[in-house]
């Protein structure tokens, strides 16, 4: 650890392999989690931090097995509580790089409150939500991101509650970095993971992840090569929202609502919304863009590196207050503001 509160930069060049632990990966063959793991292992060496400064934290679920597969420090905690543990880690040692990886049930159902409050506090950590819209580990019950009417183990006639929109959730919590990627899109994942981990403050990455056992194909509309260009828009700061195989369609905003338009010969492109990742208010509009009515936005939706982090401020308050001579101060404190002496067998003061 360096003195100035930043994790120091690794001197040895590391590779993806260095970040792979010795544990066999136990996900189902074909699970989307593998791709995220691969992307993470590849992304980290290029960030330059030391292996030992990373702590991967998770709750419980298939996704939550993630830490076991990274050769960093790792904690597999309990269902829904990863962010509370992670917050404690950062309060205790703000120099560690903390990455939380967990599932949609873990982070948005039982853990929703902790997720919300960590984001609200802007604790300096990264949250990777592996959203497969199902409870994988417990074998296929519906999750808070499952679509209305979904037939699952617990909802044989279809579920009756409306799904959480993770992006709206993060925005309402004041999260300072919000991004989205798809398991099969390695470049997309690579970019958002690296930027999220480098972000100072709470960074949130929603990954569309395929559970090929209990919810296979949930994201096919967005993840399949043939449809992806039509159903997603890749965001790039300063560039217009253009999509389509022939990049002939675009998005503009009107009255706080998104509208799809056709870009004729590239001419009207100037009317299109230009992505500004520093503008929080548009996250709300992005969150309304959902399949099949709209293409869904991918990439970094929002990034605000300005707000100070909770852990840094806690640390600062303490460091500002700390006395040089702790021992003397403690002795003073022990005596309190009023104390008196008793001498052997006294019989009264006057």
């Amino acid at each position: 650890m360096s003195e100035n509160g930043d994790a120091t930069v690794s001197e040895v060049k590391l590779s993806a392999k260095d970040f792979a632990s010795d544990q066999d990966v136990r996900w189902c063959p074909g699970c989307g989690d593998y791709a995220v793991l691969a992307a993470m292992r590849k992304a980290l060496p290029r960030l330059g931090h030391k292996k030992e400064d990373y702590v991967f934290v998770s709750g419980i679920g298939c996704a939550a097995r993630f830490p076991y597969y990274m050769d960093t420090y790792g904690m597999h905690t309990i269902h829904g509580r990863s962010l509370a543990v992670a917050t404690g880690i950062k309060i205790s040692n703000p120099d560690l790089k903390v990455v939380v990886v967990s599932g949609d049930g873990d982070l948005l159902s039982i853990g929703a409150s902790h997720t919300f409050h960590a984001m609200r506090r802007n604790v300096d950590l990264t949250i990777v939500l592996l959203n497969n819209r199902i409870y994988g580990l417990t074998k296929g019950q519906y999750s808070p991101t499952s679509e209305y009417g979904k037939i699952t183990a617990t909802t044989p006639e279809g579920s009756l509650d409306y799904p959480v929109n993770p992006v709206s959730f993060a925005a309402a919590a004041g999260c300072t970095f919000i991004a989205r990627a798809i398991d099969v899109d390695q470049p997309g994942l690579d970019e958002v993971l690296r930027r999220a981990i480098e972000h100072k403050g709470t960074s949130f990455v929603e990954v569309y992840q395929d559970c090929n056992i209990f919810n296979h194909g949930a994201w096919f509309y967005a993840s399949q090569k043939d449809s992806r260009a039509e159903t997603t828009v890749q965001l790039r700061h300063g560039e217009p929202l253009v999509y389509g195989k022939d990049r002939d369609r675009g998005i503009l905003f009107r009255n706080g609502r998104p509208i799809k338009v056709t870009v004729e010969g590239g001419a009207s492109a100037s009317d299109l919304v230009t992505h500004d990742e520093t503008d929080r208010s548009r996250v709300h509009v992005y969150s309304q863009m959902s399949h099949p009515d709209f293409p869904e936005v991918m990439g970094v939706l929002y990034a605000n590196p300005e707000r100070r982090t909770y852990d840094a401020m806690v640390d600062e308050q303490v460091r500002n207050a700390e006395v040089e001579d702790r021992e003397a101060e403690l002795r003073r404190l022990m005596k309190g503001s009023e104390s008196w002496e008793v001498h052997e067998t006294v019989d009264g003061p006057s």
Binding site: E52, V85, G88, L333, M334, G336, W340, V342, P349
Partner: protein, 631 residues
């Protein structure tokens, strides 16, 4: 240097050895302040003392109602005392509601000073007296107690007639007027209170005019005592013969806070205290929040679960993670405590018990969380359990909790209670050098060598090492799933059986480094009164009294509940009968019976209040004389 009247008038007061005084009135009447000031003065004067603040759950219930009454009892003495006293010798009642709810606790013949100005028809009605009835005219009461009606409201106003302050501010000085009278009665110096008022309203707050009228009211009350001759003779309670040393008044919460930062200092670590507010535990986070200068970090979490999880995270990252709460909060933390047991990381969990179940009576005391602390988690999930026996003992137990948590790498639950936390007593300030250092080791790759595994155990403690993230070359994963010695997931049946035993043995091994159970009185005999937690004072006093009456009764107090001191069974077996008084339905009794198969009897009174010494004496006597008792 003394500018107060004490020196001049300390003529020939009667000397007595102990007095129990209780101030009571509306929540807004400043009774807690009045009581603490009386205590502070007794402390500085050199008395031994014990206090019992008792206030409603409502913040400021409507004026004049019985449920809005706030009380503060002080027992001060020239002897070594242990409780706040069963019966009240002097009751100061600022209004009829206070009178009504407290009069039955006054000892027959006791003095009852009332603010008669408040005994109006409407006030009497508000607190539920029948129409037309005034207790100050009730012959039965007048015969039973020495009731002294004093027009305190009017006298306070008159004494401050020339003040420019508003009527409200002046009326708020009534409590100081009352305090002044009582100071006169007990021949106390006014200095400490005057200094306190100047400190409180002078300086930063900058309301010296408030300080002034309060001081004037205080003195006016004192002079009233001097002049009016309504009080019985002035009385004197000489200083107590305490062990030599520097003393201060300390409450349980203060001692807990102090103990935690001291332990942190001795371990060379920060305390990271994560908590969610809850009565009566909030004082701890509030105390620590003010100790950033000693490196303490506090975190007000979104709930109790987040708090304990953050404390676990804090310990993982290398500080001393502590969380504190009261019963309902400990219930919420149960699942995460299981995780801490699996992780094998140091963790301190403080439960300031209150009366339950559920929300219960949040400001009242009880000892009914012992079984939850022992067993309230899924699976075989042992923790160390400690319990301070008095306000001052919270200091030592907090240090012990940190020491044992670090040594055994496990959660240590500290069972305090509302009585211990809010009560105060004189405390001999220990020399910081006498508090032993807490040894902490974080291995490096070089130190552990190549063959080392994350859960390799130290043979002497049974605990694994405390490895910190950030340590190069020791990257590893820990989790709540059953683990092999390397920390990775293991479903091997024999491994699980072994790990279950190792975790239990580790807790049991703490017994090797805790002090033996001490007996007060003869080491064998007819009856041993065995207690734990905040009942120490009452049990000790009762046992002493019984011995003084020639009965063969000793007492012992368990501060270590799990594991128990190694000599516990031997101590218990030295007596014909073990009696366990508890403010619950018999939880320690259950542990004693199951472990040692000793037919321990219980005295179980669950009234949300500290045990009564007289009741204990009575019950033990009955038991010894064969009249039963709840076995």
């Amino acid at each position: 240097m003394t500018t107060t009247p004490v020196a001049e008038h300390a003529a020939h007061p009667t000397t007595i050895d102990s007095v129990v005084i209780r101030f009571c009135g509306d929540s807004g009447d400043g009774m807690q302040l009045t009581g603490s000031q009386f205590t502070e003065t007794a402390a500085v004067f050199g008395n031994d003392f014990a206090t019992f603040p008792d206030y409603p759950a409502e913040i400021r219930a409507p004026k004049g109602t019985t449920y809005g009454v706030s009380g503060f009892q002080v027992h001060f003495s020239s002897r070594d005392i242990h409780t706040h006293g069963d019966d009240v010798n002097v009751l100061v009642a600022m209004n009829p509601a206070g009178f009504r709810t407290n009069i039955r606790d006054v000892h027959p013949g006791g003095i009852v000073i009332v603010n008669e100005d408040e005994f109006t028809a409407s006030q009497l009605k508000k607190c539920g007296y029948p129409d037309g009835y005034n207790p100050l005219q009730d012959d039965d009461l007048l015969a039973r107690y020495e009731i002294l009606p004093i027009p305190m409201s009017r006298l306070t106003r008159e004494s401050l007639a020339d003040s420019e302050m508003g009527a409200k501010a002046i009326d708020r000085c009534r409590n100081m007027y009352a305090l002044g009278m009582v100071y006169w009665m007990y021949d106390r110096p006014l200095d400490p209170t005057i200094a306190h008022l100047n400190r409180k309203f002078g300086g930063a707050k900058g309301k010296p005019e408030i300080a002034e009228i309060n001081i004037r009211a205080l003195k006016a009350g004192y002079y009233f005592g001097e002049t009016a001759e309504v009080f019985p003779a002035k009385m004197r309670v000489p200083p107590a013969k305490l062990e030599a040393g520097t003393y201060r008044r300390i409450s349980g919460s203060e001692a807990m806070v102090l103990g935690l930062v001291t332990a942190g200092h001795k371990a060379g670590k920060r305390i990271v205290y994560a908590s969610y507010p809850i009565t009566p535990a909030s004082n701890i986070i509030q105390g620590l929040a003010n100790l950033k200068r000693l490196g303490a970090k506090t975190f007000q979490a979104e709930d109790e679960i987040a708090a304990v999880c953050a404390a676990i995270g804090a310990s993982y990252a290398g500080n001393i993670g502590v969380t504190g709460t009261s019963g309902p909060g400990l219930a919420l933390k149960a699942e995460a405590l299981g995780l801490a047991v699996m992780f094998e990381l140091p963790l301190v969990v403080i439960d300031v018990q209150r009366a339950g179940p559920s929300t219960g009576m949040p400001t009242k005391t009880e000892q009914a969380d012992l079984m939850m602390a022992m067993h309230g988690r899924s699976g075989e999930c042992p923790c160390i359990v400690l319990a301070p026996r008095s306000p001052g003992d919270c200091f030592g137990m907090a240090v012990e909790a940190v020491r044992l948590a670090v040594r055994q790498c496990c959660p240590v639950i500290v069972l305090s209670d509302a009585y211990v936390a809010n009560g105060a007593e004189p405390w001999r300030v220990p020399d910081l050098d006498d508090v032993p250092a807490i040894e902490v080791r974080h291995p490096s790759r070089a130190e552990v060598g190549e063959d080392w595994l994350r859960y390799t155990r130290d043979a002497s403690t049974g605990a694994p090492a405390w490895v910190l993230p950030g340590t190069p070359g020791l990257e590893h994963r820990i989790g709540g799933l059953e683990k092999g010695e390397d920390g990775n997931v293991s479903y091997d049946p024999d491994n699980h059986d072994r790990m279950t035993r190792l975790r239990a043995e580790k807790i049991a091994k703490a017994a090797e480094v805790i002090p033996p159970l001490e007996v007060r009185g003869p080491e064998s005999g007819e009856v041993l009164m065995l207690g734990w937690g905040g009942t120490y004072g009452a049990i000790t006093t009762a046992a002493d009294a019984l011995r003084a009456r020639g009965r063969s009764v000793s007492s012992a107090h368990l501060r270590y509940l799990n594991p128990m001191p190694s000599n516990t069974e031997a101590v218990l077996r030295s007596f014909d009968r073990v009696v366990v008084p508890e403010i619950n339905s018999g939880q320690l009794r259950m542990l004693i019976r199951s472990r040692f198969l000793i037919d321990a009897a219980g005295i179980n009174i669950v009234r949300g209040r500290p045990l009564n010494v007289d009741t204990l004496i009575e019950r033990v006597t009955e038991l010894m004389d064969g009249e039963g008792g709840a076995a």
